[in-house]
Each structure stands twice: as C-alpha cells, then as structure tokens.
Symmetry: D2
Subunit: 341 residues, 4 copies
C-alpha cells in the first residue's frame, strides 16, 4: 500500500509502498483510511521537535488524525465489526493503568501514538486497537470528520477544561484560528455563553472566525495584548486558549489573561519566559493540554452530528501529501488539510 | 507610636515615631498590634520588587502579617468590638465587587494591602477595616498566631487548592521548609493522606520537616529533581508546592512534576523558563497563588486551635526589626520571626 | 403608598395604603418599584406553606421579585446612587458571615427575604439594602426584567449547578415550563449543548418551549416517565430540573433520572417518597435549590442583555394584583405576571 | 468445592458442594478465596430486597467481598499472574462503555455483581475478570483485607465524594459504626480535618468509634438529631454519612444536615419521606452512593498499607456461614465477619 513516510528530520516525507498492516494481537484493529488530517504537529515532527519525547525509529509513516472503515479485527474485539465506519482516538490505550481507569487516556502509561512514535494513518491502512475506535453512523464520510480525531479532540479537550471558568460575562480569547482554533471557537460557542475574541495574523482566518460567530477579532501583532485589554475593561480575559504557543504568542497569550485568569497552552514550539512575580502577584495559571479523552471525542462527534461544529477542510490525494504539508507551512490552509487515499 | 518605616529601596527600614492612626470611615478598625510577622516579602519590598505592582509612597510602615486587639471601631462595625482579640486578613476588601461576592478576597478590585501599598503593622497600631478582622478566643496571644495571617494563609490557600489532586498514593513536594513551608507541611498532613517530600538546602529546616511528619526529605541542589523522581517511581510528583520560586527553584520545581502534574508557584523572584512543548507533551500545569481568602484564614485558625498546625517562631522587640530582617536574609530563622511591640 | 398586603392565610391579599418606607441604617436603600413579579410562591405564602419557616407578622406586603429605580440611599452606600435603575437580589445579606464570605448569598445567616418574612415589593416603594442592588443600563425598563429577580435567578442557579453534568450527548429534562421553567430552558440552551426535553401538562406551555428551542416536549401525565425513557435509550436523563415538585411531579421527576443522574428540586409543595434502595442501587442524587447568588443574578442580566434569555410576561396594574394571583392559580399565565405600580 | 448457596428467599443459605469454576473467556480469572466478607447486604439479599433489581437465578453462591490468590487466568490477561495475591473489585466491568471510559466503574452498562446477580465468593473459588483484580503485596493475608473489597470501598467512595465539603471547621456525622461505618470514620480522619460525630445504638460500636478517633459519639434514638444540632451550633452537620438508611435512620439522617448540607445515603432498606419544601427552603442534598471505583479500591489499599485504616474483623470457617449471618443479624459483630475457606 502507499504511505507517507519520514526518512530523516528536516526533509520532506516521501510517498512509497509498504506492506499492509495485519492484526496480530487479540485487541488489534486494522482500519482502511478514509481521511487523514495534516497537522502543524507533522511539521514539528519533521523538524525533529518530537524526536526526544517520542524516539521513533525512522523511516515511519506520519498521520495521527484518522478516520475510515474497519478492515480486520482481533479475536477479542467486541466493540466494532468489519465494515464499521470509525473515527480513531489518536492514542490507543491499555485500559488497565490508573490513568485509563480514571478516564485520562492521555496519561495512559502504556499507550502508543501512531504517527508520532509508530506508523500512522497517512496510508491506505492503519493498525490500531479496539479501544481507539469510536463507531460512527454508517453514512458518515471519514474525510469529512477526520480532522476531529486530533485537531478537534485537542481543541474540545481544552475548551471543556475551561468551561467552569467561562460563565456569562467572561471573555475567552482564541489565539490562532487555524485547524484547531476554528474548531475551538465553535466548541466555545456551543458549550458556553462566554464572549469569544479571536486573535490571528491572517485576515482570512479572522473572517472565518467572524463567520463562525466570534464576537470580536484582533489582528495578531504588537498591539494585540492592548486590544484584548481594551475589549475586557482593561483587565484581560478569564481564559486564553493559545493554539499557537510559539514565536512570541506563548508569552503574549499569558499577558492577555486577567488577574486570576488562565492561559491554556495548546500549541507549542516557543518557550515561556515569565517572572514568578507575575504568576503570583495576580494568581494566574498556565494550563497544559494534550489531545483529549475517548469520551471527549465521542462528545465532539455529538456536536458535529448536531451541526454545532463544522469543519473547514481542503482535501488532497495521498500522493499530494508533500503539497499539503507545504501549503500548511505557507499559511495557505483555511481550516484543515485532509489526505484522502 | 513607634513604627518600622521604609524610606528608600535597598536600605534598611528605620524604627521611628509616627502618629497613631485614627478611625475615620464607618467600617474602619484600629488594632493594637500584639505580633507582626517578618516575611521574605519584606526583603523583596526593600529590594523594590513590589515597587511597580504596588507603587507605595515612601516612607511608609512595613508589616503585612498582623494580630492584636481591637482599639477603636467605626460607626458601622458590627462584627468586632473594642477589646476583641483578632487576627487580620492581609487585604481589607470592599465586599461589593464580583470577586468579593464570590469569596475571592485576593481579587477584590478595591482592596488595599497594608505593609505593601500603605502603612502596615510593624508598629504599635494599625488601621484596617471590619472585613479584615477574624475574631479569636480571648485567651489567644497575638504573637503566637500572627504568622498565620500571611505565611499561614498563603501556605494553606495553596494546599487547599491542591487537595483535589492529592488522593492516597500521590506525592506532594514542598520546596522550601521556612516560614511558609513549615506551615504548608502541616496543612498537607492535616487535610490529606498524601505522601509529603520536603526539599530544602538547610539541614535544620529538613530536620524540622521530619519532626513535623514529612515522609521524606531531600537536600536542595543539582540532584534534587532526580531524588524526587526516585521517590516517585521515576515519574515525579502530582503536586509541587514551590515556596521559593527563585534562584532556579522555579524551574526545578516544574521539573519535579509528573505527567499531568501541577506546579504551585507561591514564592517568587525568579523567572520561569519552560518550553511549551514540555507543558503540552505531558499536560502539566503552573498554578499561581497569592495569600488566601478570609474563610481560609478562619479555617486555618481551626487547625491551629486543634493543634494540627503549630508555629515555630522567634520573637524580637519592635526596635529590633532590623535584626530580624538581617537574620531572615541570612537564613538564621527556623520558622518565622515575630515583632512584638 | 399603595401595597398588596396579606392579612390572613387562605385569603386574598388586599391593596391598601401604607406609609412609604424610609432609609434608617447606613446601608439601607429605598427603591421605587417599576415591576414586581407574581410567583407561585406568593400562592404558597397565602396558603401558609411558608408560615413556619419564615414566621412573618401579618399583615405585610407581598412581592419578592422586584426591579425599579433607587429613590434614597443610606450614608454608607457606595455602589448605587439615587436615580439608578436596579434589579434586586431577593435576599439582602450581611456580607460578613461565612456564607456571604464564600459567595453563598442564599445561606447568609443574617439575611431577610422581603415578601416572605418582611414587607416586599408589590408596592410603590421597597426598603432593601445596598448589597441587594444590581445596577442596570439606565435604558432598561424594570417591568421587562423584574421576573429575572426571582424566577430568573432561581432557574439560572439550578441550571448553573447542573452545567458540569451536561456535556454533549446528555439530556436535561425541564419539568414545568411556566414562569421559572421557560427561563430555565433558555439558560440550558445558552450555556450547554445538552438535549432539552420539556414536560408540562399545558399545550401552550409546550408550544412556548418548542419556540424557545427545546428539542423534545412531553405531555405531563402517567406516561411521561416512559416517554422520557424512550427519548433517552431507555435509561432516563442525566439531569431533571423539577420546577413543579408537587402533585406527584416530585416523585416522577426522580423516576426520570438515569443511573448516576441528579434530580434538581426547585419547585415545592409535594413530598418525596423514595426507597433508599432506589437511591443507592443506581447512585442517584436529589439536589436542593433556592434562589441564587448575587453574581448569578448579574450573569443572568448578561444573558438577558445579549438576548439569550427573553421573558414572556403579562403586566397588570398594582391594583389588579388579585386578578394576577387568580390567573396564575388558574394556569392562565404563559410566562410570568408582572405588577406595574 | 464448598459454597454458601441461597436456595430461596427468607431462608438461610446452605453450605454445599458445587463444581470449581473454570476460565473460559480470554479475560477470565479464577481466584482461590482467602477471605470473604459477610455483609448486611447478604441479609437483604436473603430477604429478597435485591430480587427485582438483580434477578439472579436461584440457587446461587453469595459473597461480594473477596480477596485471595490468582488460580487460573485467561489468554489475554496481562495485569495479574497465577499465584498473585489480589483483592477484588466487586463488579467486573467491560472497560469499553462510556462509564468505564470515565472511571465510573459502578455505572458500567455491562458489569456483573458476583454474589448479587451471579455466583459470589463465599466458596473456595470465584470466577471474576482481569479488570476486577487489584494486585497486593505477596505478604498480605486475604482474610485481613477482604472487608475492604466492599465495606471498605463503599465507605471510602462516599467519604471521597464528601471531601470537598469537609474543610476545617465542618462536621461529618457517621450514622452507624458497623462494618462500613468503622471504616468510614477512619477514612474521614485520614483524608480530612473535619470533626467526626458518630451515631449508633450500640455502646460497643460507639466505644470502637472513640478508639478510632471520633471526636464525639451520640446514642442513636429519639434525641439523636437534637444531640447532633447541639454539637453543631444548632445548625446541623455539613455532611451526614448514613450507613444505615432504614428503620427511620434515613429520615433522621436528613434532619441532621444543616442548611446547604448533604445527606449521603449508603445503607438502604427504608424509605425517604421528605417534603420538597424542606429540600428547597434550605437547599439540602441527598446523595446516592454505591460501591466505588477500581482506583478508589487501590487508594484504600494505600491507606490500609500505611496503617491509616485498620479493620476490626471476626473470622468464621466457611461452614459456619449461617452462624456469621445470624450473628450479624443479632448485632453481635463489632466490625466485620469474614469467612475463611
């Protein structure tokens, strides 16, 4: 089968032939891919940012945002059957460690992360496990929902954690209205009555934000912190969701929070540089976020089915993966790029 | 009356005569000071660290950790009477803003902070307000409890926020077993069944920690992060309470947290320098903390009355305030220094 | 001035002349009433249901749901001025007890409840306190918002407590779509993405519910529990908001919850009759609710200003108070009746 | 093997020979029983109270509180091995439903409840599943810990839910200091600084409560509600843990709560009879509780290993099960009866 494989850091992955994966363990599931999202994390993987944390053996197949149809199941799989349409939680988990037993899939001590530490879904088939499969209505087109598997769940997870802070009268700032951010905006509007301010350097992204219902937009740049303060009685926002967290956004996002506020870090690449006096004198928080839980992915599918979250995507054939990666790098994607094998 | 007054930054305050404060507003209360704590924040005030945030007019009287007896009350004061023994919440609040109406005294939009932005309690008398007064059993000696008014409430506030994270089987690391930390250890032991690890450079402080019931102690220094990991199955702690947050502790404290863990910043002076990748890849949090609520001070007094929190203090006459500040700076105080006018 | 006064239980209140109230304490506020809501609780007061809990001295003025303009203020009032448009939190509080210091206005140990235990707002003027006043945009017509002061805050308070239980994919059942319920529906839709099912015996009420956006309606009656179960995969709802809680609704509402579900009791008059085996075998909860906090009233005003909560009201002149009470009793009010002096 | 089997309701179970259970599914585990607790629920099962909810086929083996050694494992079991000492979560769960994925083992839609709906552990061997096994230190004697598998987890679960309500200065009332209650007292003391009041009709039980550290004891009976109010400034307790919930305790427990308080129902058999006016006028809650989560059982084992929870037990040989049941019925057991095969 064809797969998009990384042979070395700082070089473009190549589309090449590899064997189709097969079920070996009792809980294994092989999925025929219908859509595989292209994510800024793929760019970061190529740059080597995840090398130390994940230490994958090169070459391997990228793609951590996948949906498709069940092709083959192991002997002990009971929750899905061959032919089922599924979206895949990005990290197949063990189900037995304390984190799994508490529903914190992200902190499973035995999980893998296909596309980051092992072969991912930018391919015709993907090997995953029963616990990663969320069954969908058979009429769903995988390419239409794939972006929810990682961009979606990650945005929703952060928003869901912020909900208790977002009573009417508060403000949530969304920094970055791209693949994740444009979903985050919709999740905020669907699940709270907070005021939503969107910050992005890109006029088209801000326009999309407004179409989606954002209450205010702010051009990213030197005056963005001041602009957010002006929109919030000079105080800043209760919640900032920083989907960028690099190139200075990581520190300006913190500066956009009000006393007692929380800066949710979701993007990455930059380095926080914050005096502890600023953290304590106003009692502000910096909250880490990674992917989300299986149940959160299921909840997000409910929002999508009810039309409360819609994706802005652009599809590419699998062979065009390098084009998609280049377009993302160049800021040419409004929403999310999806590879369709 | 005598008062300990700061005339310029980076110079020792002087003990000099000033007029006794008088009640003018209907909710004013004048307290005769029985004990005024000496805090690392006083050193930071002298160094000018709070100049920008608080902009006090010099000269003014230091002292934000006070207890004593009510001397005079305004016409609308109903909760205390002349002669009552009281401990004082450090920030008199308005009672009417959203934060006050939610019990978040620290975020009152109209509060003052005597000793930081106006005349404090290192003096014979202090002007405060009805809302700051917690009435005590008449037999209580103010000098015995004064340290709870700031060191205590601050430590307790952070511990109380951490309680939901500290189920049996978890570990809480206390970084710094001084004035705040030695209270934090006791609050953790009184209100949770977590395992308590204490990190400090000072052997006497670690000895005190052990006497107070800490389960493990670790010598501060280059190997402290590794030592904490060894005590926690290689993972790190669910909660780190960083009572130092300067001179590198601010970053090593974060490094002591496990995936999903939280670093509570309580001390200050240093600068966080943390890649956002480290925040998100393991979904860790940095939690700001400042003082605590009025109700928390009242709760802490319950712990003290029941003997679950005891203070290690060393008293100095008011005139010896410079000696107390120098001893604190030199690391010679085990627990807390208290001025007794 | 004219006032609607209760002279004896089980008899209609009379409209009669009484002296205008005057400011005496430093925090007193006199409000000229612009709108006073008529509530099922007024019927219950007349029936004597509150006699034991509140023990008011008869005769006294009814009316616990009020908005108007500030007429006179005490010497220590700083948060409102003569002429301000205000909506009034129903229970003036002390601001000093533990409950007030935690933001739990409903549990203030010193509060009064005008209209239940002292003279209320079905009159030309009402005596209240500074802490009860929420300042509004000067253009607001008090008669348009008065119903938010009790019906609104009570519905919003219960919904706000339920929010953490109402993730996407859940169901909330609103039992009773009258004065409170029609606001509760809107609060649910504004602040969550839960599915909303409304149960009421009245076809017009169900029609209003549908107009407001409810996802399903169910005719109250013997088959209502089964109908709710059919809408919820046979399991029942995560949350039931029982705005009736009398005449059997109190027990059928509990029966509508699923395992692990919560029955929020908001109405009253009936008696729960539930085997403890039913409570524990499925781990279900019964949650009491009363009024709401000052901050919740302020949050609700934000929802109203943004058009997310609109009131269905019918105005009556003050003299027609007995007609309004009779219409409410007869089930003729769609939404809320408002007296306009 | 020998097993204690129920042949009909309202008659004593008999000890008889049955075949040893065998592993059939890939996740099955057979455990050699080292200790099986005797619980008031066994009496209720015999009385037929659970017949409708659980509909077991008679005859079947009782016993839902078990510990022992792994005897045989299915092909897909990875978390335990033959010979391991284990304590068993009472409800083997599916691991795949929403409740399991959220850590709410009690609400698994596919779980069984051996001893209630299928063969339990009052026998030489028990068939359970991998997900029910908590591995213990090999030196642990199963008979010493078995009571934690149901009495313990149930008490701990309720206490853990109550912790956020139990800050210093509050009161928790434990109604019933028997098998569950004597563990609940210890869990409260280990994980909070609340004041603990214990109510029981039995002088020996109250004496045990005092030995365990309860701050006050109250003789159950007509004056118990008044006695609790006297100990709580006339207001009642923030939390009541009702381990009895029959014979009137279910209603007097509610009456012991203060305004805003919560009545945790854990025992069962009686019927709540509470006017909704009493629920809403003071905003009180009734909280259902059933067993607990796998992680909670693991946390409780930590408390036990640290000596913070110790069990008072009395052992009987398996053949003497009828004696143990009769002694429990007669109120002759201080703590818990344990059958040792």
């Amino acid at each position: 089968m064809k797969a998009v494989r990384l042979h070395g850091y700082d070089q473009m992955p190549v589309v090449e032939d590899v064997p189709v994966p097969k079920v070996s363990g009792p809980l294994d599931v092989v999925v025929r891919i219908g859509g595989a999202g292209v994510c800024r994390t793929d760019l970061h993987v190529i740059e080597g940012q995840w090398q130390q944390a994940m230490s994958p053996s090169l070459p391997y197949t990228l793609g951590h945002e996948n949906a498709g149809w069940v092709e083959e199941v192991g002997s002990a799989v009971t929750n899905v059957a061959v032919g089922d349409t599924v979206i895949l939680h990005p990290t197949p988990t063990c189900g037995l460690c304390r984190a799994c037993r508490a529903g914190d899939d992200m902190h499973c001590t035995q999980s893998s992360f296909p596309g980051l530490d092992s072969d991912g879904g930018m391919a015709e088939y993907l090997l995953t496990s029963a616990r990663a499969c969320v069954r969908l209505d058979p009429g769903t087109r995988p390419e239409d929902v794939a972006a929810l598997a990682d961009a979606g769940i990650t945005a929703y997870h952060a928003v869901r954690k912020a909900i208790p802070l977002l009573h009417p009268g508060t403000t949530a700032v969304v920094v970055g209205a791209g693949g994740l951010g444009h979903i985050g905006i919709q999740c905020l509007l669907a699940t709270t009555a907070t005021g939503v301010v969107v910050v992005d350097p890109n006029a088209a992204a801000l326009e999309l934000a407004t179409e989606l219902g954002a209450h205010h937009t702010v051009q990213a740049g030197d005056s963005a912190v001041d602009a957010v303060k002006e929109l919030t009685d000079g105080e800043g926002a209760e919640v900032v969701l920083d989907f960028v967290a690099e190139k200075g956004a990581e520190n300006s996002s913190f500066a956009m929070t009000r006393p007692g506020g929380s800066d949710f870090v979701i993007g990455y690449g930059g380095t926080l540089n914050i005096p502890t006096l600023d953290v304590i004198s106003t009692e502000r928080n910096i909250i880490g976020n990674i992917v989300g839980t299986y149940n959160e992915l299921a909840e997000l599918m409910v929002l999508a089915q009810r039309g409360l979250v819609t994706l802005h995507t652009r599809t590419y054939p699998l062979d065009a993966a390098p084009d998609a990666l280049r377009d993302l790098e160049a800021g040419k994607i409004r929403g999310r790029a999806i590879l369709v094998p």
